[in-house]
């Protein structure tokens, strides 16, 4: 399968800190790749570097063969990359509708696509004209994801979508992301919730100290408790 996104020897410095220390990986088109690792391993930094929010200090990043490591964030977004940050970053002073209108960069909102999104997230229909700042944490996360998929994107970068959410909302979110995946989306997702990662991931990358320390099939990692414990410090029983 062809790689939609490729990183080769990518380093990122933030101030005097050397965050990413030469990472190489590819994300195949139509697949979901999970990026796992302990806090501070460099997962969010990887997404931010791909998105151009932090500049790679060395290495190569290609999207469908086009080099993007020196591109500005808006140009990377315009190549078809949707980004759901860890902080959700919904515009709280704007309504749900206005948040989505802004995200629909290429024109007016598409009715059919909106109905598709409302199918996953009925709350967004209900609170369409409410200020995003008044939504609950789970609803903000839904809006943040809806913003990334309101138009067709070639690659979705999603940073810890289940973080801090109630279990019931996590289940709904996993169902939604699974459906997005079934429609052929290419996703690179950071996730601390191993259950969510196991449900959604085709491939897995594990990071530690700014480096990729493991890569492989998600199913293989899910089946190997010892490997999980070694890489992630997880006990399989607690994540069944």
């Amino acid at each position: 399968m062809s790689e939609l996104l490729e990183l080769a020897g990518v380093h990122t410095h933030v101030g005097r800190y050397h965050i990413l220390q030469g990472i190489d990986f590819g994300v195949a088109a139509g697949q979901t790749t999970m990026l796992l690792g302990r806090n501070g391993a460099g997962k969010t930094s990887t997404l931010r570097t791909i998105m151009g929010l932090w500049q790679a200090s060395a290495g190569r990043i290609s999207l469908d063969g086009k080099r993007i490591e020196n591109s500005a964030t808006p140009d990377i977004a315009r190549l078809g990359v949707g980004y759901v940050p860890e902080t959700m970053a919904v515009f709280s002073d704007l309504t749900v509708k206005e948040n989505l209108v802004l995200a629909a960069r290429d024109g007016p909102l598409d009715d059919a696509r909106l109905e598709w999104i409302f199918g996953f997230f009925p709350a967004l229909r209900r609170f369409w004209l409410s200020r995003a700042g008044a939504l609950s944490g789970g609803q903000k996360q839904m809006l943040s994801i809806a913003r990334a998929i309101v138009e067709e994107r070639r690659l979705l970068l999603i940073d810890e979508p289940t973080k801090g959410l109630a279990p019931a909302i996590v289940v709904a979110l996993i169902e939604c992301l699974a459906e997005i995946k079934r429609r052929g989306a290419t996703i690179l997702m950071v996730e601390q919730n191993f259950h969510a990662a196991r449900e959604l991931g085709d491939k897995v990358l594990v990071m530690d100290n700014g480096k990729i320390v493991h890569r492989g099939e998600m199913a293989a990692l899910a089946a190997d408790g010892g490997l999980q414990e070694r890489l992630l410090g997880l006990s399989l029983e607690t994540h069944q």
Binding site: A72, A89, L94, L102, R105, P108, W128, S130, R131, G133
Partner: protein, 336 residues
Amino acid sequence: MTDVAASGSLPKPKRDLLPVLLPAILALAMLPLIGSGSSWVTLTVASLAMGMMIFIMASGLTLVFGLMDVLNFGHGAFISVGAYIATLVLLPLTASVQADSLLTNLAVLAPAAVLSMAVSGALGLVVERVLILPVYGQHLKQILMTTGGLIVAEQALYALWGPQIIPLPLPTSLRGSFIVGDVAIAKYRLLAMLVGLTVFCGIQLVLNRTKIGLLIRAGVENREMVEALGYRIRRLFLGVFMVGSGLAGLGGVMWALYREQVHASMGNDLTVLVFIVVIIGGLGSIGGCFIGALLVAMVANYGGFLVPKLALVSNILLMVAILMWRPRGLYAVTSR
């Protein structure tokens, strides 16, 4: 587009109306202290007119700070430049300015105001590219650069126009007052209120009814996410900076006509006042800036009438009181 109708049962955020009511509360509270109804009306109208002019000058600054996180201490230069440019139109056309016809007067005032806005806006473009661009994200350097820019602009105005104060008489039909009973309402103050309200409504319309306005509001809140959605916010920055500079130029024209004189340090003199308004309003908030400007003008006018000695410090006292009540200003917008 699907306009999915009503909102659901989400608790509506409380409408924070107290700041909006403050000017009215202050005005009513002053009525018994001032005693005379006609003096109260005159002072109130003077406050509203002055407040509107300050708002026009400050509105650009609050947007520039809110969206761009730029501390532009040189904002006053655009005010001065706007006023001087107006003299280029109004002084050679003295006959039209002195004509006893409102239409003839407005026919020279309007192009003078438009030219002032255009030149100040163009100067804004140069300042953003040359002075601000290299120091984005560095507040201390921004203060140094823009303060330096203000000094250079002031000295350039002295060099071009000389050190003397230039008289700028009001057009004939805008002199004098409308007399209603025993109340006198200055005609120019009414015009200033009209222009100020038009600018306020125009900005609100753009911010709330257009996609550019959505982008500005979103950018004030989270610039990074606006960029991640694919919008080149630098261009938006530049546009807002130019509009803000142009509005300062318009404010300069209005203020010069209000004072009937132009001098190179007028922008510098007004900078502190404009910053007080922006801080009181809540950095980045147009509504807060509007209310802040009215409050500053009211305190200056009522205070000057009741306790003249207090007039010198009234603005600072107002700012201290507001910030003790709401440390981030009346309507805090940015997370900064």
